[in-house]
């Protein structure tokens, strides 16, 4: 036990003391809050820009439609700077007016122009051309303004008063979303998805980084022959266990620091967003219970043990970093193919794909926590996922320890799959 402790201590302290660990631990939270704040900031940017006010309306309807549209585009603002310019033109002068408008856009005097005519009043078509034609939010706002103007014209035709018309067509809708779990309301839906993504990404990253850390550690011990000295003092199983636990503890330390500081940064999100000039959204952090927190850690630890023991086996079977990268590619494929499913699972966390992937030990340590973050998972499914993952871990450890103890003493050419299978059958 004292020897296992000595190995864990060495693995832990040597890594925590390294510069790399300090840098990653420091930049991690900044990075994670960035991936949460930046999309929110971009989302706030997706409200229409001031470009829409800088539009020219070419009105060929001959009904004053253009002026009403200008009012609708400007919204409730009465500022003259927000009012689009209206040019009333005869239908036969339209093409000439358009070419003038194009030049204004080219000279960056105006951001674009919209053409309204009889087809527009009929509710059939309208045209926009401008520098911001690809901005979804700008186009949506102009389209919405045109729809409202058409609606207003029709209501006027059936004899509604101006005031009444405004009352009917003015709908300042603020659409907020919130997730409901079996424990009740659990913060905004957007926040849950971001949180689920962050959890999945964090687990994915940790498994890749620390799996490879273990692999290079094992490889270093093998190539420097330290492994032989250590193996003459402790059984290989103890050495493997010490490595997995020591490096696992490093990963856990880093995750706890990451999660805690990211949480604090997100709490301070409102002032940060305000500094960036973005309006704060109605946004509350997901409510994570202690039990869920413990389950997250359990999935991390089991997933880590599963992958890192296999990475250790790979490290012991090769003789150089380049061989290791090649030999580790099946593991990389397993992890990356799980990563590919993060988004589909976020979009449909209760679908068959999500359910199946959270039972397979290869993907469950990443997929199940994501599902837990975005939806309520039935206890039976959780238990099943943990059960299969635990069995997967035992199998991976069994296989890894057998490859490990033979591989560490084998130098020379890289073993074939057949040779590795034979190692597994060796007694000691």
């Amino acid at each position: 036990m004292a020897k296992l402790w000595a190995i864990i201590k060495r693995e832990y302290l040597e890594r925590v003391r390294s510069k790399w660990f300090l840098i990653a631990t420091f930049f991690g939270p900044i990075f994670f809050s960035a991936i949460i704040i930046v999309p929110a900031w971009l989302a706030s940017r997706s409200k229409a820009t001031s470009d829409v006010y800088n539009t020219t309306i070419l009105d060929a309807t001959g009904t004053g439609f253009g002026h009403r549209l200008a009012v609708n585009i400007a919204g409730d603002s009465t500022s003259s700077t927000k009012m689009p310019v209206v040019k009333v033109v005869a239908p036969n002068e339209l093409s000439q007016a358009e070419s003038v408008a194009v030049h204004e856009v080219m000279r960056k005097e105006r951001s674009g122009y919209v053409v309204v005519n009889q087809q527009t009043i009929a509710g059939e078509s309208a045209r926009y051309a401008g520098a911001n034609a690809t901005s979804i939010a700008d186009m949506a706002q102009i389209k919405e303004a045109i729809r409202r103007t058409i609606l207003a014209s029709r209501l006027e035709q059936v004899g509604l008063s101006d005031q009444k018309m405004k009352e009917i067509t003015f709908i300042p809708l603020d659409f907020s979303t919130e997730r409901v779990t079996e424990r009740g309301r659990a913060g905004s839906g957007m926040a849950s998805v971001l949180f689920g993504f962050a959890i999945g990404f964090l687990l994915y990253l940790s498994i890749v980084i620390y799996g490879q850390t273990i692999m290079s550690g094992v490889l270093e011990e093998k190539t420097t022959r330290v492994a032989e000295v250590v193996m003459s003092s402790v059984p290989t199983d103890t050495l493997l266990a010490g490595k997995v636990l020591g490096v696992g503890a490093v990963g856990l330390t880093q995750q706890i620091i990451w999660i805690a500081t990211t949480y604090i940064l997100l709490k301070l999100r409102a002032p940060i967003m305000a500094k960036l000039g973005a309006p704060t959204m109605n946004f509350s952090l997901p409510d994570i219970s202690l039990a869920a927190g413990i389950l997250f850690l359990l999935f991390f630890l089991l997933g880590f043990i599963f992958y890192s023991s296999l990475y250790a086996a790979v490290g012991s079977s090769v003789n150089s970093e380049s061989e290791a990268r090649q030999a580790a590619s099946p593991l990389m494929i397993m992890i990356v193919s799980t990563g590919v499913f993060i988004q589909p699972v976020l979009l449909n966390p209760t679908g068959t794909t999500a359910k199946v992937l959270s039972l397979i030990p290869i993907s469950s340590p990443i997929i199940m926590p994501i599902r837990m973050a975005v939806t309520g998972v039935p206890p039976l499914e959780l238990a099943g996922s943990l059960f299969f993952l635990a069995i997967g871990c035992l199998a991976a450890l069994w296989l890894a320890s057998r490859i490990y103890r033979v591989g560490l003493l084998m130098y020379g050419k890289r073993p074939t799959m057949k040779e590795m299978a034979r190692w597994v059958s060796y007694a000691k």
Binding site: A6, R225, V226, V229, V234, L409, K428
Partner: protein, 319 residues
């Protein structure tokens, strides 16, 4: 009954393609310096790994100080220096040493004071510089070798196993290692080392075992081994140019000759008379500096017993 430091009985270890060690029996007396000699690929490293319980024999038994080699308590009495050496490159010297000591059951505080003692003894800690605080990869190769000796001996083992300890050592460290071996013996420790350098073995070892192709060829004390191979050898040293080549190729007189240009170690043919050989050489006009009946050197015995055929084809250096 003498307690043996190592008592190996009928041990066999097979790998898929070949048998690394076949039916090996050998006993190392406590307190002796024991040489495990053999060409590359003979099974020395496999034997050492089995003694250290890094790998297990397929059959046979290994006892160390009367206890089974897989007894966890026994590993703390063993010190091991592997053939190819290296340490955690990015780790501080003191921390590496403390880690190695802890793996042998030495507690932290005892380890610290012993580390100081050893660093000073091998001049790695002086008034100007304490290399103990440096990282391994800041050390020269010679210094790293010293650190590795310290790691092997820090827990004051009763049995020290050195695998090819002289390979890659500069003369100063080689001398330091020899001194250490002599010192260990004086303190009643048992030292076993594998080597293919017969000169070192002959000077340092009390007993030797020669193995080839996984089998024991001979063993015993150096004195007994030499006596067994009789006084059938002649040391011949010549001065200046001489024409003795033809005489030495006469198989009625000479069975085998180790020609080192001016020095020859000659094994006489069975029944041949050394005096007849001397006469022939004198008659050839050669100027003789030395003509002496000697015991064969370990080197000669080794060549005689193992020959070139003792080295298996296609083996790595890790027999």
């Amino acid at each position: 009954m003498t307690e043996y430091a190592i008592d190996i009985v009928n041990v066999t270890k097979r790998y898929a393609e070949h048998t690394a060690v076949r039916d090996l029996t050998l006993r190392v007396p406590t307190g002796s310096v024991y040489g495990l000699l053999g060409p590359n690929g003979a099974g020395k490293t496999t034997t050492i790994r089995m003694i250290l319980n890094i790998i297990a024999p397929d059959s046979g038994s290994i006892h160390i100080f009367g206890r089974r080699s897989d007894d966890p308590k026994i590993t703390e009495r063993l010190g091991y220096l592997p053939e190819e050496r290296g340490l955690y490159r990015k780790m501080q010297v003191r921390r590496v040493l403390k880690f190695l000591a802890e793996l042998k059951g030495v507690n932290g505080r005892t380890a610290e004071s012993r580390i100081d003692e050893w660093l000073e003894r091998l001049s790695l800690k002086t008034a100007e510089k304490d290399w103990g605080l440096a990282k391994i990869d800041e050390l020269s190769r010679g210094m790293q070798q010293k650190v590795q000796f310290i790691g092997t001996l820090l827990h004051d083992p009763d049995l020290v196993i050195l695998d090819e300890p002289f390979s890659g050592l500069d003369p100063i460290n080689a001398q330091a290692l020899k001194d250490t071996v002599v010192d260990l013996k004086r303190r009643g420790k048992t030292v076993i080392f594998s080597t293919h350098l017969m000169d070192n073995a002959e000077r340092l070892c009390d007993s030797v075992c020669i193995i080839a192709r996984g089998e024991k060829v001979l063993d015993g004390t150096v004195t007994d081994v030499k006596e067994e191979h009789g006084q059938r050898n002649i040391a011949l040293a010549l001065d200046g140019e001489s024409m003795v080549g033809e005489i030495l190729r006469d198989h009625s007189l000479v069975k085998r000759v180790d020609d080192s240009n001016r020095f020859f170690e000659i094994e006489m043919a069975p029944g041949a008379d050394p005096q007849a050989l001397l006469k022939r050489i004198v008659d050839s006009g050669a100027s003789i500096q030395r003509f002496e009946m000697i015991q064969p050197s370990l080197h000669q015995i080794f060549l005689q017993k193992v020959g070139a055929s003792g080295v298996e084809e296609g083996m790595t250096g890790h027999g």
